[in-house]
């Protein structure tokens, strides 16, 4: 291997590998559907890496298999191979190429991260002193004004002014012109359920409802242990951590029902901690809000950490049923695959 062999054959191989890789990158079908503004960004990054990975895979494993066949020991040949100990140009080449790829991917992923809103969580004013007027004022023009369905959020006790602003999670993708979210939902993780509280409307449910095309902000907290909020179709995930406030901000792009999954081991029934997010068209969402606004006023945070090891299979839902004091049909939507 005096030089990198450049011949027609390698040229053809290169073209074929490139074509295959690009095809695989576009058609692997491994990702679920995209339902948030962030999803296409993440997918493009993933697909790019998939193209590169496929190419590298084919080149390295191809070379490996080819060498295994070409350089197998022949019958009766007990000699050694020709002693080639190194080749500086070649080694420089294969250090440089990955380095360049890696730097490129690094820059690309930083850009994606920024566009996803990763760089400025918690920098927006609504958390600290949100007022209904700012909310309505910031509504995108031409959209149906949601002011009538989300009245007087700040007047309810939940979002008082001394709330600490979270520094962790995903915030507004819009860096210069930081604007408050259209809808704020407080999300509480507990063994083994998610509770969603709409502060302005005093609605508490076991599944998340959001309008399509609106900037939604989830304020995550955890009651007992760490949970992690994931909607695969949104490509977003953020841990809910006891003692820390985190947040997740997204714009859902497609009406539908998607799973909400807990991805941080939170106890024996961690796998059963499943719920869903329903993305409604705006009018449908308004209607849903109206139906649910008539709720009792009961604080949710009355549960304590429990030891699942001491619980029977049925008792594990205890914290949830405690929270079920809230007269809403939403908790019946709790998806816990376990009922034995």
């Amino acid at each position: 291997m005096k030089q990198i062999p450049i011949s027609l054959l390698t040229l053809v191989a290169g073209v074929v590998i490139t074509l295959i890789s690009i095809w695989v990158g576009q058609n692997h079908g491994l990702l679920p559907e995209q339902a948030s503004e962030q999803a296409p960004l993440v997918d493009n990054l993933f697909n790019t890496m998939m193209i590169i990975a496929t190419a590298l895979f084919l080149v390295v494993e191809g070379a490996l298999v080819a060498f295994m066949i070409m350089f197998r020991k022949r019958e009766g040949d007990e000699t050694d191979g020709e002693p080639i100990e190194g080749n500086l140009p070649l080694e420089a080449f294969w250090t440089a190429i990955p380095a360049i790829i890696v730097i490129g991917l690094g820059v690309y992923s930083v850009a994606v991260f920024q566009e996803m809103g990763g760089l400025n969580p918690g920098d927006h004013a609504v958390m600290a002193h949100g007022s209904p007027s700012t909310l309505v004022a910031q509504m995108p023009e031409g959209e149906p004004i949601a002011g009538d369905v989300m009245p007087l959020m700040a007047e309810s006790e939940g979002t008082s002014s001394d709330e600490v602003r979270p520094y962790y999670g995903f915030g507004s993708p819009d860096q210069d012109q930081i604007k408050p979210a259209d809808l704020v939902v407080n999300v509480t993780g507990m063994q083994y359920a998610w509770l969603f509280n709409y502060p302005g409307d005093n609605i508490t449910t076991g599944e998340l409802h959001v309008p399509v095309g609106r900037d939604v902000q989830l304020n995550l907290s955890a009651q007992d242990v760490i949970h992690s909020f994931w909607v695969p179709q949104f490509r977003l995930k953020q841990d809910a951590i006891p003692g820390l406030k985190t947040e997740l901000r997204f714009v859902a792009t497609k009406p539908g029902t998607y799973p909400v999954v807990c991805t941080e081991l939170c106890g024996a029934y961690h796998g059963g901690m499943r719920s869903q997010v329903v993305v409604h068209p705006q009018e449908e969402f308004d209607q849903w809000l109206d139906e649910n606004r008539v709720v009792a006023e009961q604080p949710v945070d009355s549960t304590v950490a429990t030891n699942p090891a001491d619980m029977s299979a049925i008792e594990f839902l205890a914290p949830v049923s405690q929270a079920m004091g809230i007269p809403t049909d939403a908790l019946t939507h709790l998806h816990v695959a376990h009922d034995s």
Binding site: G81, I84, F113
Partner: protein, 561 residues
């Protein structure tokens, strides 16, 4: 008398040597201070742990064959999950590759009669069985259930006694690894035969050197994290208790500051094994000796600055997510250099398809895939999607099963003749290899899709839409479990009845092949002198008909002091 005090020279040596030449079987069950005995003690003990951890994996996969928790109670599932991960890492890969191969090979490869501190060495080994017993014993108290990462607050509220046992077990294992590492560093610096220069050091020794330094830097941090956790659980402190002002995320930093480098602790010695096995069976000098040696050091250095990539979705500020994305991606470069070098070593070789070589190539096949998925995980945006899902499970099993288990098997097939004096059966070896390769890919490849599509990890029950893919994984796991059968038969049978090996059955060039198989106590009658590099295949007239490497080269009078 410690080895360090033995003057290196044939006269002194022969005096106290003539009495016995080999150890008896019962020596392996005592506090023996011979590095070869200790190495084999490590290998056998850890392999038993591997089988136990493997049984737990099979039980978990059986549970996961259906979406409902119908085979294992969910608490028990989590106990199996936790102990499977812990055993595989702390009781198998780390002690087998560093403790087992490191102890057996390092003194032999540098022409020493033993490790620098033989008693310390034995002490380090004898911490491993109690550590394992503590883990096993924890099942009587419900079993630790918080995963091998044991994040608080979960680890503080579930199965406290078992969790404390888990912590003590890890502290024991960590202490053992610190003692072992000190020993390796001193041995490698002080005990090489005078004729061996650093650039004549076999790459396995370089790898153990880098690994030991890494262990010394990172292990104490784990001990701190676990110690604080133990206090929180048992003595009412609140380091990690949020309701009393504790910091939940702090534990994660302490844990990963050790446990990410631990990944390199696992893989670097295996890389060392690769660098020994491939040249011998391909009959070629290793391609890029310096590049491989230095890339180990580079991986260690950069590897200390990547831990937060396990915490992208946690309470991690944005700048950290970005900094650690970049540093993680950088590790791909030295790792890539190693892979390319091994593949290039095959170029122009005369490859013998021995079982050792097959497993080495199998490792390359698996590790390339695991490395590529690792790059995707290194970027924060993609990691945030797949973190704590089966995509990650797929990735780390490609790296750890593909990378480590294949490497350990390659090492065993390669050095078994040296350790026992007998050859292993090649047919059984091939069957073992084929089953392992098929089983591993069947088990772990489909997991990538599971994770990307939405299946979280560490679950005993899951969404029924994932049932089909899980069935494939479970079948793969059964094949993997079965694949150990031909290996165990082979190892036991060959140990007793295998073909006699002779000193150097593979015609290899490193020093361990210049003595008897198995080596006599204190390794050599007369210490060898290094006259050529460890990988000079096809050079200096050595290649003549495949002979010429075998003899111990008697020392020239001037070389002995």
């Amino acid at each position: 008398m410690t080895q360090a005090e033995v003057p290196v020279g044939s006269q002194v040596y022969t005096e106290h040597h003539t009495t016995h030449k080999a150890w008896k079987w019962y020596d392996y069950f005592t506090f023996n201070i011979d590095h070869k005995v200790i190495g084999i003690q490590y290998l056998v003990t850890t392999f038993i742990f591997y089988l136990i951890g493997g049984l737990m994996a099979v039980a978990m996969r059986t549970e996961l064959a259906t979406p409902d928790p119908d085979f294992l109670d969910p608490n028990l599932y989590n106990a199996f999950l936790t102990n499977h991960g812990t055993i595989m890492i702390f009781m198998w890969i780390v002690p087998a590759s560093i403790g087992g191969f490191g102890n057996y090979l390092v003194p032999l490869m540098i022409g020493a009669r033993d490790m620098a501190f033989p008693k310390l060495n034995a002490l380090a080994f004898w911490m491993v069985p109690p550590a394992g017993l503590l883990l096993m014993g924890s099942f009587f108290f419900g079993g630790a259930q918080a995963g091998w990462t044991s994040y608080p607050p979960l680890s503080e509220i579930t199965a406290n006694t078992a969790q404390s046992m888990w912590i003590l077990s890890l502290v024991l294992a960590g202490t053992s690894s610190i003692l072992g590492s000190v020993n390796f560093v001193v041995t490698l610096v002080k005990m090489r035969v005078p004729s061996q220069k650093w650039d004549q050091l076999p790459l396995f020794c370089w790898a153990i050197f880098a690994t030991s330094i890494l262990a010394l830097v990172s292990t104490p941090v784990l001990a701190v994290g676990l110690g604080l956790l133990l206090f929180d659980i048992n003595f009412g402190t609140a380091f990690f208790k949020p309701e009393a002002g504790g910091q939940v995320v702090m534990y994660q930093h302490l844990f990963w500051f050790y446990s990410h480098p631990a990944v390199y602790l696992m893989i670097l010695p295996i890389f060392g094994i690769m660098s020994e096995v491939i040249p011998v069976h391909a009959r070629k000098p290793i391609f890029g000796y310096k590049a491989i040696a230095y890339s180990s050091l580079a991986i260690c250095l950069v590897g200390l600055f990547v831990w937060v990539h396990h915490m992208f979705t946690s309470g991690t500020p944005p700048w950290m997510r970005l900094f650690f994305t970049i540093s993680t991606l950088i590790v791909a470069v030295p790792t890539g250099v190693k892979i390319f070098s091994w593949v290039a070593t095959l170029w122009g070789g005369k490859i013998r398809y021995t079982s050792a070589m097959l497993f080495a190539i199998g490792l390359l096949i698996m590790f390339v895939l695991g490395g590529l998925s690792g790059v995707t995980l290194g970027t924060a945006p993609v990691d945030i999607h797949v973190h704590d899902t089966y995509y990650v499970v797929a990735h780390f099993h490609y790296v750890l099963f593909g990378g480590s288990v294949f490497g350990i098997y390659a090492g065993i097939y390669h050095w078994f003749p040296k350790m026992t004096g007998r050859m292993m059966n090649e047919t059984l070896g091939r069957i073992h290899f084929a089953l392992t390769l098929i089983g591993a890919n069947l088990t772990f490849l489909p997991m990538h899709e599971l994770g990307l599509k939405g299946m979280p990890r560490r679950v005993a029950m899951y969404d029924p839409q994932f049932a089909h893919i899980n069935v494939i994984c479970t079948i793969g796991a059964f094949i993997l479990a079965f694949s150990t059968v031909p290996f165990i038969i082979n190892a036991i049978w060959s140990w007793r009845y295998g073909k006699k090996a002779g000193g150097n059955p593979w015609n290899a060039l490193t020093l361990e092949w210049t003595t008897d198989s198995p080596p006599i106590i204190e390794n050599w009658e007369v210490l060898p002198v290094v006259t050529h590099g460890p990988y000079d295949y096809g050079m200096n007239g050595h290649s003549a008909n495949g002979n010429g490497y075998g003899e111990a080269i008697p020392p020239e009078p001037s070389a002995t002091r």
